[in-house]
Structure formats: C-alpha cells, structure tokens
C-alpha cells in the first residue's frame, strides 16, 4: 500500500533580513513515520516547524500539511496537528486537569468526552497522582509530560515536537522516547521531532534529516546516510556521530 505524504515542503525559504534561517528546503514526510530533524543550535529547526504550523510565513516556497497550506487554511491544519513548542508554558495557577480541559475546549471537544480522555492521558504520562496540583509547582520533567498530554488530547494525525527531550534526565528521556515510539507504532501518528542530540534521533527515527545553517544537508534512513555520507558498505559499523561530523565539516 502506497503511503500518503503528510508533510511536503518545496524550496521552502525563510529570511530574517539578511540572514537566511531556512534555505530552499525540500522534504517529504510519509504517514506514520517518525522523522527526526537533527541540527545544531540555530540551524533553523524551529523556524521550519513554525512554517509548517503557519505560525510564521515563509519568504518563499510551498508547505503542505495533510494537503493544506498552513498559511491559507490555518484552521484545517491546526485541527489535525499537535504541537509541543520548544519551551512549553502552562497556566501556572491551574492544575494539570484544568490546563488540559482548556485545550480540549479550544478544540471543541465536549467536556463529556474530554473528561475520560484527560484521565487516560494523565495515566499514560504518569501524572495521575499530581493531577490536582498547581502546574506552577511541577518539575521540568512533569511539565514536558503534561505538554505531551496537551498535544495528544485532540488526537492529532500529525505531531510536531520541538526538542521534546530537552532538560530531561536520562530516565525521563528514555520514557519520552518510548512514548514517541508508541504514538507512531500504536496510534499511527506521524511524528516530526527536532533535536540536537544524535543518540536520541538515532534511537527512534525511521528517517533523519540533518540541517546545518539553514540547509538540509542529508536526509534518509540511518543506513542510507551511512552509505552515502561515509561511503560505507552494508553491514559496516558506523555511528550517527561520524555521519554528522562529516556533514558538519563540509558545511
């Protein structure tokens, strides 16, 4: 069965004055895929994501998410996607349940439906015990998990996660990555996530894009990248770090 293209970017460019944050990026992400977007600080990962979400307008080029242009049909796109921003914030005076309820209402999910969903999600992200505490008192890891719950409450088709593991301890990171993997495997969600940490991208991604200074320098599965980038034969040992360093030096 041919898989549908969920995210399509063609010649996508974003300039801030003289600086080009994203430079002629062309990329497709297929349904159900976990796409890891790898790049150092300032590479243009967040900017790309903002253009995919319609939160900033491209200077040139086209974007389609589920077939819609996020700049022209923002609501259509936003109904189908979930977005976890880089540094997610919450209404600190409300508890986890109230924060989730607000997001659910903004998505037109009736309270009757969202009540059950909220309970299930809180279990899933292991916040059920702390659900009635003010979010202001949450630790970084708890906030990140609550952020994921907020993304999932609307049951999106596509999920954008901007550095979802940043600031998490090794255990938290592992659980987050398992969760991401589960979303794709069990719920058939398409996941587009960014990170600057090699091992994490390597662990969960079906395909990887490497972005350096606004340019997508390589894209493909890990094996593809190794063969093309390092000229390795099949079965030879490599690490993503080697690949990354090679592209990094070239750029």
């Amino acid at each position: 069965m041919e898989k549908e293209t969920v995210i399509r970017m063609e010649e996508l460019t974003k300039r801030y004055g003289a600086q080009t944050a994203v430079n002629r990026l062309s990329l497709k992400v297929l349904e159900g895929e976990i796409f890891g977007f790898l790049g150092p600080n300032g590479a243009g990962k967040t900017t790309t994501m903002l253009m995919l979400l319609g939160l900033t307008e491209p200077t040139s080029g086209t974007v389609r998410v589920c077939g819609y242009d996020p700049a022209r049909d923002p609501l259509k796109v936003k109904e189908m996607i979930g977005y976890l921003p880089e540094n997610v914030g919450f209404y600190e005076d409300m508890d986890a349940r109230q924060n989730l309820r607000y997001i659910a209402r903004l998505n037109r999910i009736p309270d009757k439906v969202s009540t059950g969903r909220i309970d299930r999600l809180l279990e899933e992200v292991e916040l059920a015990k702390e659900a009635d505490k003010r979010v202001g008192s949450y630790s970084k890891g708890m906030r990140q998990r609550l952020g994921i719950a907020e993304v999932l409450i609307k049951e999106p088709k596509v999920v954008f996660l901007d550095e979802p593991t940043i600031g998490l301890d090794p255990d938290g990171t592992n659980r987050m990555l398992d969760l991401i993997q589960g979303l794709s495997r069990e719920r058939r969600m398409t996941i587009f996530f960014s990170s600057h940490l090699l091992d994490q991208v390597q662990r969960v991604s079906d395909r990887i894009g490497i972005m350096i200074q606004g340019k997508l320098v390589a894209v493909g599965s890990l094996d593809d990248l190794a063969q093309r980038g390092l000229g390795l034969e099949e079965g030879e040992a490599y690490t993503l770090e080697e690949i990354y360093m090679k592209y990094f030096k070239e750029a």
């Binding site: 609501l75 109904e79 607000y102």
Partner: protein
C-alpha cells in the same frame, strides 16, 4: 465563535481571581461610594424643609463634594480599570509561553483578542453597574427621593457612555500588550497615555494655542478680542483630541441637564458658573442625547481603530516560544 466563548470564559475566571483587578476595583468603588454619600449627606442637611429641585437625584453623581464629583472621579480613574484588565492580555501569554500553544489550536487569532476584550468589557460593565446601583440605593435612603423615569434614562445613558469609554482604554491597553513584549513596558505605556490624555492635554492645548494664536497685547480693543477668540478656539480643538475631555463633557451633558453647556467643571471660571446658575431651564433628554451622539460615535470609532491595529499587528506576527 466557539473559540471566543472558551477564551471569554477562561478570562472571566482569571479576572475574578486576579488580586490586582480586585484591589483597584475595590478602591475605586470605595472612593466612588464615599464621594457620592458625602454629597448625599450634605444634600440631606441643606434640603431640610426646602422644596426639592429638579433632577435632585442626579446631583448625587454630579455635585462636587469636597474635591470632585463622582462623575469626575470616574472620568479620571475609570480608565485605570480598563488598563488593569488589558495591559498584559497578550504579552502575559507570550512571557508565560502559552501563546504559541494557544495560536496552534484550531481557533482564529482574532478570537483570542476578541474573547479577552469581551471578558474585560463584561467586567467593566459589572463594576460600573454595581457602582451606580449602590449609589442609587444610598441616595434613596439618604435623601429620600426615588429617581424619576428621565433620571433613570439619563443614568442608563451615563452607564453606556462610561462602559464604552473605559472599554476604549481596555482596547488601547490590549493594543499595547500586543505591540510590547514586556508586560512592564505595556503597563507603563498605557499609564503614560492615560496621564497624557487625562491630565496634560489641557496644558498642551493651551501651550499649542499660545504658539499658534498668541494673544496680542495691543491697545486696539477689537484686535485683542479677536486674538483672544482665536486662542480659545485652538484650545477647544486641541481638547477635542482628548477622549478624557470629550467624556467629561458628554457625561456632564447627560447627567447635568441644568448646566446646559458641556464644559468640564474644573475648567469653568466663577463668573461662568454664576451666569449658568441663573438659567435654570433643563436641557431635554433628547437634546442631551443629540449633543452626546457624536462623541459616542467617535469613541466607538477610535476603539475600532485600536482593534484594527491590534489585528494588523497580531494576525501575521511570528509567535515563538522563546
């Protein structure tokens, strides 16, 4: 529509639990009620055994007690309610990093602004209506008169005017919260505009008048008179730029039908006051409304301009969570 309603509800809950808003409102309600009840008490003493003049009930709101009248007090400090409700409407979400989450939900961006504005406006209406009702209740007890239909009608128009006027400040404050990223900056900007328009425009107006049409010191009587009129005219036009002055004039026209001239009290000289008190024919309600209507329309118009700028800035703005 759905988005507006959800945001409206959340904002209302926030306002009701906002210490800042409750404090400033309590203060304004307290002072307002004190002013009006002082006026009421002195009226009760003065009116003992006398025939009650026309529109005595409205005097509760318009007579200057020790310092200024209730409507002057609201004219000066009412805008603070609007500013408190609006100055951090958008940039609070920005600094709290909830804005990028909010704008990635399936709602139009203008729903965020509209929902917040409507919630603020509802709070303003609640405060103003309760204030007037409290004072009316006090008045009935203190001076023992029940307001007539016309007085009630005038109070109602006064309420509409005041709610719209304070909402204009709410709109301006929300505009600042869109334009400025820091809540401190938008608070200061709102306060600066408030002080500028409420207190200094009169000053600025007379400076401007002296610059454009200086009063000449000549022996020629006609020429001196001419320059005096010109100077006054420039001052008047300058004061039209100030919504505070316009509001003051409009409310005194509505609530003070005997004065017949829409000049704010503080700007009136003693001679003017005496001459006015000679003419005791009240301005009919309809006439008062006709005088006030242009102000009302321009007030609504500038509020819409604020909104227009808000939309233009916010609609296409890039929203990052950093």
């Amino acid at each position: 529509m759905h988005g507006i309603f959800t945001i409206y509800k959340k904002e209302m809950e926030d306002h009701f639990s906002s210490t800042r808003f409750l404090l400033i409102t309590a203060l304004i309600v307290m002072v307002g009620v004190i002013i009006a009840s002082m006026v009421g008490m002195s009226m009760r003493d003065e009116l003992q055994g006398m025939a009650k003049p026309d529109f005595i009930f409205l005097l509760l709101f318009t007579s200057t007690g020790k310092l200024f009248s209730f409507i002057q007090f609201i004219g000066f400090f009412g805008p603070l309610i609007g500013i408190i409700l609006g100055f951090d409407a958008i940039n609070r979400e920005r600094t709290g990093r909830t804005l990028s989450k909010l704008v990635s939900q399936p709602i139009y961006r203008d729903a965020i602004i509209n929902g917040k504005f409507l919630a603020g406006m509802t709070m303003i209406a609640i405060v103003m209506v309760s204030l007037v009702v409290i004072i009316a209740g006090l008045g009935i007890r203190l001076i023992g008169v029940v307001p007539g239909a016309e007085e009630l009608g005038r109070l109602l128009i006064y309420l509409v005017l005041s709610i719209l006027y304070i909402s204009f400040w709410l709109g301006a404050a929300i505009l600042f919260s869109v334009v400025f990223r820091s809540t401190a900056t938008s608070a200061l900007a709102s306060l600066a505009v408030w002080i500028g328009l409420s207190f200094f425009i009169g000053l600025g107006g007379s400076l401007l008048a002296d610059a454009i049409a200086p009063m000449t010191q000549t022996a020629d009587m006609a020429q001196a008179q001419d320059s005096f009129v010109k100077n006054a005219e420039v001052q008047r036009v300058a004061s039209l730029l100030s919504p505070a002055t316009l509001y003051g004039d409009a409310t005194s026209t509505i609530l003070d039908p005997l004065r017949k001239t829409p000049r704010s009290f503080v700007l009136m000289g003693p001679m003017e006051r005496i001459s006015l008190s000679r003419f005791q024919n009240p301005l009919p309600l309809l006439q008062s409304v006709v005088i006030v209507a242009p102000f009302l329309i321009s007030l609504i118009a500038i509020t819409f301009v604020c909104f227009g700028i808000c939309y233009a800035v916010f609609m296409r703005q890039e929203i990052r969570s950093t």
